[in-house]
């Protein structure tokens, strides 16, 4: 049984802009996309070592929803965590659900 952590109300998230949240002992970057879906990946940018992915620009690259690190612009697939610029690198992805207008993340 996955456990779920309530993060915020869906309305607290701007469309195509991330927000960081503490989930368990780590940091998660939560994104609300244009199509209404919500995704979560680790907030740690593996290239710079800073907890900043929630502050990246969100968009599409070749049809893939992605966030660009605000530090040096590497792209990360929001669904798989895979780095689009370096196949050897990935960030963790987390399950997300919206229950009665509240965003929940499973650590």
């Amino acid at each position: 049984m996955p456990t779920w952590t309530q993060v915020c109300r869906l309305d607290d998230l701007d469309v195509e802009r991330g927000a960081a949240a503490i989930v368990g002992s780590g940091q998660v970057a939560v994104f609300r996309l244009h199509d209404g879906s919500v995704h979560a990946v680790g907030n740690l940018d593996p290239f710079s070592g800073a907890q900043v992915l929630a502050r990246g620009i969100v968009g599409t690259r070749g049809g893939t929803d992605f966030v660009a690190s605000p530090m040096h612009k590497q792209g990360f697939d929001l669904r798989t965590g895979r780095c689009l610029d370096d196949p050897d690198i990935a960030v963790p992805v987390y399950a997300v659900r919206v229950v009665e207008g509240v965003v929940e993340v499973s650590p």
Binding site: A21, P46, R61, M71, H72, D86
Partner: protein, 841 residues
């Protein structure tokens, strides 16, 4: 096999070409090359010498920017003037006593300016115009001078006059002949040229025979005495009345020289000693000296060809020239002497100052030559038409009209670049074979257009034709989501009044955008609407710096830079900055833009810091934005004993006028209160330097990885005109530059370069002036401090938290250690390897 030694005496443009050609054609596989240069600098582009005083530094003129040749067989020795040749022993001697043996010697000693034998010509304040050192000396003298005279109204004389104008001297040109450039243009062309030149403030004296240099009691030049005319007073006299070949070394060792100077050589460029060649302006093939670079290059190539066993010869040269003198195009090509069997086609527009004369065969079938003054845009096509003898189109007169000359009219054999002798077939073939898609690639692969640049528009035309024929569409869209360039994007957004990303992508793009197009669109919307950058519709488009109105640092914290207009700040405000930095434990550093950087703030601290600063009268300095950063100033005439204008006042006014203007890239400006230039204004996008009569305006300066000096856009402006020109310049840049293109690169990229920008900004040739000023005025009216607006906007403020589910909690991953009494980021633990890509913000 033993190697032979080729010694080249002289490292000017032609000496350099000998070496370049020897390397390119493989001569260095069997030959060592020793080059003995007299100057301390390697070869530089003398054709562009006056640009040295308008922004191009010595490195920019250099033909060998790395300072040496890659080929290890080439030994370049500078500062080594040759004083003698011993033909018996086959050695050359330099002034330092060094002796170098040769198997083959090439003399490329060039020429010296001719100074007429006038009384007083050696007085202090008399100069010639030939080397960078000459220009440095003239510049030093000009610093304390008011008036300068150039003796000689030919091509070099007008170049020298241009130099004096750049040095802000009242400039006279004295020419013995009845017109300027007597060798290149006819009387009617000379009259048009004279009107242009006088329009720039140059005083022209034709039919004027100089009798002597007037010398004052201190032995300094005081002016010129002119026969049958009043004397002209001046502090600087520049002789530019022709050249004389430097053939002394050849004379000393007994080589034959021509009657009027120049080392006599045959078609192989060989002197009467078979082991010695001479090339360039020191040589006289058939007794004639050629004072242009293209024939010199041709001679250099002949010599190398002969050493490789080839049979090329030099049998005369195309003496065509095209120059931009004092901003005026002047060109002559082919045979311009005219005779009974040629007909004239003349176009003369005295309103705009354009004169064109073409000489064609009596049957109108072939172009013999021509003269162009005021508009030489057709030169690149007309010159090869004349020299290749190609048939003319039926409507010959179309060649006289603007744009009438089309690259398509050229035959395959037509030489497009006469400096490097590259024909049309070679250029088109190279474009096809190498798949060139831009002009830079074509220039690199063919060398066409790399010397005087006059053929570049034709080369570009050939490139466009090849690309069109190959069906290649050169993508100029800014990213995968838009096929529009930034400039096109700016225009459609303005014309269609689009105000949201969704509307723009629906009309012109695909997908949901990315880190390239979104900030570009956010910037365009901010430039056009002056709206708040963190509004609901735009916040998601902003890069993190704009989204948090601060600069992200390597550990995810931000830096805060309050605006300090002109760098002027009261002690009380300094104390507030100190108190804020102390209370929030921020690392503090003085910036290069005369303000103070406070580093290490977490996102939730930013509004608290701004509150303290705003309450003390500060506002955002836009250090995070692609926007105006600072206007740096010196203390100016208020305090400085040298200052001639109030530079601080102007810097503050400019900074407050342009603050917050979003642009394709950051914009920096500077104002200096006198010519000493303590504000380093010429390293800025917009630089202003005070003169006794007002302000000189410079544009396109840049520090950073590609340093550029700003070049003069206009001089001696009153403050109102200055501001109007800066308004127009900045808005034209905002409208038309590519994303992340600084003004220097933008000016280089626009067709026509700085001259085009000047035509738009100063002469208003596109009629855009009022429109550009209105946009800027609207920006000024709509300006609001973004920090204050954010503090007043609860919807924006709610984003300034480290965690959406723990709003009061600071990010525990951010740590600091102490260094030199201040905090600095603790080293992060890297997951993706131990190196961070270069390019930190």
């Amino acid at each position: 096999m033993t190697r032979s030694t080729l010694v080249v005496v002289g490292h000017g443009m032609v000496g350099h070409r000998v070496v370049e050609c020897a390397v390119e054609r493989g001569l260095t596989a069997e030959w060592d090359v020793v080059v003995l240069g007299e100057e301390t600098r390697p070869a530089y582009n003398r054709v562009g010498l006056s640009s040295y005083l308008s922004g191009t530094d010595a490195d920019g003129l250099s033909l060998l920017p790395s300072g040496g040749y890659d080929d290890p067989a080439v030994d370049l020795r500078l500062d080594s003037p040759v004083v003698g040749v011993d033909r018996e022993r086959q050695v050359v001697m330099t002034s330092s006593g060094e002796v170098t043996a040769y198997d083959v010697l090439v003399l490329a000693t060039g020429s010296v300016p001719f100074v007429p034998p006038l009384p007083g010509r050696d007085a202090t304040g008399c100069f010639v115009y030939r080397t960078i050192d000459d220009l440095d000396a003239i510049r030093d003298a000009a610093a304390t001078a008011r008036t300068g005279i150039v003796v000689g109204g030919g091509l070099l004389g007008l170049e020298a006059a241009n130099a004096l104008l750049h040095l802000a001297l009242e400039t006279h040109v004295v020419e013995m002949a009845p017109r300027l450039m007597p060798l290149q243009v006819d009387d009617a062309g000379g009259a048009v040229l004279r009107r242009h030149v006088e329009g720039l403030g140059v005083r022209v004296h034709c039919d004027a025979r100089t009798e002597s240099v007037l010398v004052d009691d201190d032995g300094r030049a005081a002016g010129l005495a002119i026969a049958d005319a009043p004397p002209i007073t001046a502090d600087v006299v520049v002789f530019s009345a022709g050249i004389r070949p430097r053939d002394q070394v050849a004379r000393q060792c007994g080589l034959g020289v021509a009657e009027r100077g120049g080392i006599l050589v045959d078609e192989q460029c060989r002197t009467d000693d078979p082991a010695i060649f001479a090339v360039g302006e020191c040589a006289a093939p058939g007794g004639r000296v050629y004072g242009l670079v293209a024939p010199g290059y041709a001679m250099a190539e002949v010599v190398v060809d002969r050493l490789l066993g080839g049979d090329r010869g030099f049998t005369g040269a195309d003496m065509s020239t095209k120059l931009k003198l004092l901003g005026v195009d002047v060109a002559s090509f082919g045979d311009t002497s005219g005779s009974d069997d040629t007909l004239d086609l003349v176009f003369s527009d005295q309103v705009t100052g354009v004169y064109k004369r073409l000489l064609v065969d009596a049957d109108g079938a072939r172009l013999r030559g021509g003269i162009l003054v005021g508009d030489a845009s057709a030169y690149g096509v007309l010159r090869p038409l004349a020299t290749s003898g190609a048939s003319l189109p039926d409507d010959v007169e179309s060649l006289l009209l603007p744009l009438g000359a089309d690259a398509a009219a050229l035959t395959d054999q037509a030489v497009v670049c006469s400096c490097r002798n590259v024909d049309r077939a070679t250029i088109s073939g190279t474009i096809r074979e190498n798949g060139c898609t831009d002009l830079g690639c074509v220039k690199k692969c063919t060398t066409a257009g790399t010397v005087c640049g006059s053929c570049a528009p034709v080369v570009k035309g050939l490139l466009d034709a090849e690309l069109a024929a190959a069906g290649v569409v050169v993508p100029n869209g800014i990213c995968e989501h838009f096929e529009l360039s930034r400039q096109d994007m700016f225009d459609v957004i303005r014309v269609q009044q689009l105000r949201t990303f969704d509307a723009i992508v629906a009309a012109h793009g695909r997908g949901r955008g990315c880190d390239i197009c979104k900030p570009a669109i956010a910037s365009i919307l901010a430039s056009q609407t002056g709206g708040y950058v963190l509004g609901r519709e735009t916040v998601a488009l902003q890069d993190t710096n704009d989204a948090f109105l601060a600069n992200i640092q390597r550990n995810g914290t931000y830096s805060v830079v309050p605006r300090v207009p002109g760098g002027e700040i009261t002690p009380d405000k300094l104390i507030v900055i100190g108190e804020v930095a102390r209370d929030f434990a921020l690392y503090t550093k003085i910036t290069g833009g005369q303000r103070i950087d406070l580093l290490g703030a977490r996102v939730e601290q930013l509004p608290q810091i701004w509150r303290r600063l705003v309450d003390a009268g500060f506002e955002s300095g836009h250090a995070y934005g692609k926007a105006l950063r600072t206007v740096k100033s010196c203390v100016g005439s208020t305090w400085c004993r040298y200052g001639v204008q109030d530079s601080v006042r102007l810097a503050i006014d400019l900074e407050l006028r342009y603050r917050g203007l979003r642009a394709p890239h950051k914009i920096k400006a500077g104002v200096s209160g006198c010519a000493r230039e303590c504000a380093e204004a010429r390293s800025k996008d917009v630089g202003v330097i005070a003169t006794e009569r007002g302000w000189n305006l410079y544009v396109g300066g840049n520090g950073g990885a590609s340093p550029r000096h700003a070049r003069e856009l206009a001089g001696d402006l009153d403050t109102e005109t200055l501001v109007r020109y800066v308004d127009r310049f900045l808005m034209y840049y905002v409208r038309t530059a590519d994303r992340l293109q600084r003004t220097a690169a933008w000016i280089e990229s626009v067709d026509g370069g700085l001259d085009h920008v000047r035509a738009v900004v100063v002469d208003d040739v596109l009629g855009l002036g009022a429109d550009l000023e209105a946009d800027l005025t609207a920006h000024v009216a709509s300006y609001a401090d973004e920090w204050q607006t954010t503090l007043d906007d609860p919807d924006a403020l709610r984003r300034f938290v480290s965690f959406v589910n723990a709003r009061e909690t600071p990010d525990p991953s951010i740590g600091f250690v102490a260094e030199r009494g201040q905090p600095r980021p603790a080293e992060p633990v890297l997951v993706a390897g131990d190196s961070i890509p270069v390019g930190a913000p």
